[in-house]
Subunit: 344 residues, 4 copies
């Protein structure tokens, strides 16, 4: 078993890491790190558990440790750190020889750091060599995208062949994306908020790196643009997005539907990989977050309403579970790929 | 006082009509029409009142009448009828010499029927002559747009001078838009629905008629396209929309902001007209439905987040009260214009 | 396998029956009954599926049949019929030799009909003989209580030994209890409703029958009173209740806690029986519907906040899943007991 | 005009104070106090305004001051301080000769501090003399009850004549009662919480002081008990409560209804006093927070469902606006009474 630590283990995404790694066939949780004042106390005492499954037995009594490489006996850490802190902390771990599979945004856009979705750009793992040479690290940092970006990019990958020219995307995002205390009830009951800090910028930049090509140790951004408008709505889990897509080859809705259906990355040997990366729904009013977010154990992205737009554009709706497919599950799947490719 | 009747007086929009017309300086409610089985009973008995103001005294004991011209002593009727029924019923009233100010969709796209927003296209009232000649009616039908369209078009009017080329719009609409029983709580608590029947079609067509020019008794559609994606969210009242707008003159966000600020239709003599048709918000996270929908007594449209998009586009967010500005208030304002122009 | 039919198969509770019976080790769904206009069509076409698990393969193509004994080849039917219709329909099935495990309220308070919770009053099955003799039925009707009553009574059973004198109970019930379209979103977003039709009466009467003793073919009501106040809140699934209980022996909170913990009905051979009928929570703010309703696959009742009240009363909070433990799961568990006791 | 300051002016209740005092006929806002780091900045810059009316012009540019008597030129301060800080701060103001009308809980149960509802126990103002003598203050502290207590006690006052013996009360409280960030959306969307810290204790003790008699400079608690169970539900504003009341004279529901209707405290000369302190609703499903909370500008308490309980008890439901009648409005009404009685 590979020894796995979790950084930021008591928060929203940290708890999802615990939930997904408990009983994992390849990883064993050997360390749970949180803030200094939690260190030394049993996890069940410091983590206010808020998932609707029971806290796994194996972590209840585990003593929380400080967020330092020397405090943890691990081969890999899963990071749910806040961006400000992740910058230094994750580098410390990589320097100390640990693989860091991170959900934080700090390192995503660094040129020598893979920003990864196993179904989309597994070849970007090639950046690890570049990273290690440049930084003289024994470990490495591998990141997954922002929770909105990841859902959208999974659906864009099979459409790349049509020659994407531009994308307009409007998101309706769940409150869990802001962390447990991120959105007060007074802000969202009978309301929605047409703004999420830095979210539009992330969707507009990360997408191009993810769909870019690795050439001579560098990622060349995909040659199109994304224009995002991000909104918060009163949904617990599950980000929904409406997409307008223009592509050179002017695919028909049926072409797009087929491309989604045929998208079938060969990841069946990764335990967290869903049977279908994309599920196409034909009902007029699907996907919906409450009904569809747990498809593929929260790892499938559901699409629907594929239809013609103006100017030969395609319109469609996509939805995925933001703290599973869009966060903890994304990091775990990345780690599984790393193991398969021999990095662990 | 002008004698006013309300068709569909017991429903969501019908109750808003009652609320807005009770105490109105020009109109006096003289008849409340509803379904056959309500006829003959006092309004307070058949209307399950669901607004957070008290039912006006003047309508409590008023006997509900059947929806027929001969049953009502009125100069004008405000129609909150369902579309299927409005087609025939509204024509019956117009034929009988009554002015119909309608919120129903049935007649909106008829060539000789004005589709009106007083701040936007008052000159389209010219169609009434055409209508009366063609149909030999003594009355007339005047309509207001769909609740989403109306908010957006109020904000597009001052931008017409930039030479609009196309619009992408994503809506996040309140549940009251579907009528009191339209959206079950099980459909929307912890959920959103990426579909509203016929709504995208309405936004894409009505907008062009509203912003079109009246030439020789005909409306020539505005020369651009609108591509809409409509969604339902867990908000009681207030439709929010994100807009991407491309215009020939490539206005800057500041140009657009100024155009909104300077938009000042001369309607101060209409009682229901708000002080400002458009309110510009500079906070990064506004407008929001719960906080801003009652601005201008529910008749102002709030805009915010005016920013640059890709390809010289402008992005912004707009929000307005769907059952006031977007429905009952729209019909009442139309009626006030009709009175001012001498049709009543 | 026992051949099972579902009456009212397309509604909220009907879908739960389908979900719980698909793959059941003892029962096989052989017939799905719904309204006349659905008859003859495949289930997937007439049932708008609203659960967050996928519709089971085995029912998708099954043709819906009319709600008549002669149309169904079944040993047992699970009834999710509306009360008005259940009175006649369920009798028809019992007359035709079919066992009816009903969630409807129509027959619950009939003297010769068992009102059952397997953990509470399995001996009431003795009423079946009385029923068959009296009515000359080859089949039989067995009912489960109202969804609120069932949760409370599961927690009262282990407290009976303290000599219950009276109970005040205030419920905060989920919207799913009213059926899919029962509570419009406009009625409950930013709101609660302090009334549920007939609910207080049901809790006050059914409880006494359930906890009564079977003596000479008759149930003698339990000798205390229940005073209920029922409220609807914006929760999808999970009824929460606050209880004040007065008992002759003046048990301490610790006595009550122990009684809950030790309550361990021997039902481990019934597939739907949860490991623990009652789960005691010690956190100050639990149970909560979203976090605890799926405990025991939705069949456990969670209790918490056991504390002293005035006048030697005990106060506590209880919560359970209303459409599983409180409806479909209750009927299925009853049916499993019937099978074990040889009635099937 | 009386010079009024607001302590804690930027929070939820502080904003309500601003809203209610702006344009008040007797009071003029002369100082807004908040935390040290806000001091010196304009109110519009430090207060994130979250009410659905516009921030009053008169406070926008007002510089926020530190929470110290010497920093404020005031005759009275309205306190929305957190309980921990209010203990010392409010005493400092009273010592400095200022009247403190406080919504904080710190001083409520002190023997020489009036806990007041003008409609209920205006004679308790007599404690001010006791307080001033004992503490040698030129100013004074007057408090209003907890937001739940206040609603209930307004309805209990007219029932005192029946000889109240005991009360069971179950509350369903709005999220605004916990402050703007008090209840995360993840805690309450599709959920309710059966616990509010210290709330039950407050209801059980404050009620007795409020309904107690002032005898020889001391309040003698009312001679009955209150047993409360407090719950948080997904409502923005408006606390709803179900009450069971036992009284010696066994009043009928109709007796109770009449007592409510006849309750008519003579406060018409206080500007914030509602026309009716209690509004009786006869619909089976009222009062409801969203529909009834703004009755009497948020100062009326609505009651309904008056019905017979077991053991000669009376059951009823009550509801009032927790941040107006239950907080800011309560303090303002107290201050108006102080002015009328010559303390200002």
């Amino acid at each position: 078993m590979i020894k796995a630590g979790i950084l930021g283990a008591t928060g929203n995404v940290g708890q999802r890491f615990v939930q997904m790694l408990a009983g994992h066939p390849w990883f064993e949780i050997t360390a749970l790190a949180a803030s200094e004042r939690s260190a030394g106390k049993p996890y069940e005492e410091v983590a206010k558990w808020r998932l609707d499954t029971t806290m796994p037995e194996e972590v209840r009594k585990m003593k929380v440790v400080p967020t330092k490489p020397e405090a943890m006996d691990v081969d890999i850490v899963f990071s749910a750190m806040p961006a400000e802190e992740a910058l230094k902390v994750e580098a410390d771990f990589a320097k100390a020889g640990v693989i860091v599979s991170s959900n934080a945004s700090s390192w995503r856009m660094e040129k020598d750091v893979p920003l990864m979705i196993p179904e989309v750009n597994p070849e970007h793992l090639g950046l690890i060599d570049v990273q290690r040479k440049k930084r003289k690290w024994d470990g490495a940092i591998v990141t997954n995208p922002n929770c909105s970006t990841i859902m959208m990019v999974v659906t864009l990958k099979p459409l790349m062949k049509f020659g994407i020219e531009n994308i307009h995307v409007s998101t309706m995002q769940a409150v869990s994306g802001a962390g447990y205390e991120g959105v007060p009830s007074m802000a969202i009951v009978d309301n929605m908020i047409p703004f999420i800090g830095k979210e539009e910028e992330k969707m507009e930049s990360e997408t191009l790196k993810l769909l870019g090509s690795l050439e001579k140790g560098q990622v060349r951004d995909a040659p199109f643009w994304v224009s995002a408008a991000c909104h918060r709505v009163a949904v617990l889990d599950g980000h929904t997005m409406s997409v307008w897509l223009r592509a050179k080859k002017n695919p028909s809705p049926e072409d797009v539907r087929k491309a989604f259906e045929k998208f079938n990355p060969k990841l069946s040997d990764l335990p967290t990989s869903p049977e279908k990366a994309i599920i196409v729904r034909d009902e007029p009013d699907r996907p919906q977050p409450r009904l569809d977010r747990m498809q593929g154990n929260g790892m499938s992205v559901s699409v629907g309403r594929i239809r013609a737009g103006h100017d030969n554009a395609i319109k469609y709706v996509l939805m995925g579970h933001n703290t599973i497919r869009g966060a903890a599950g994304a990091s775990v799947l990345n780690a599984e790929l790393l193991k398969k490719k021999g990095f662990l």
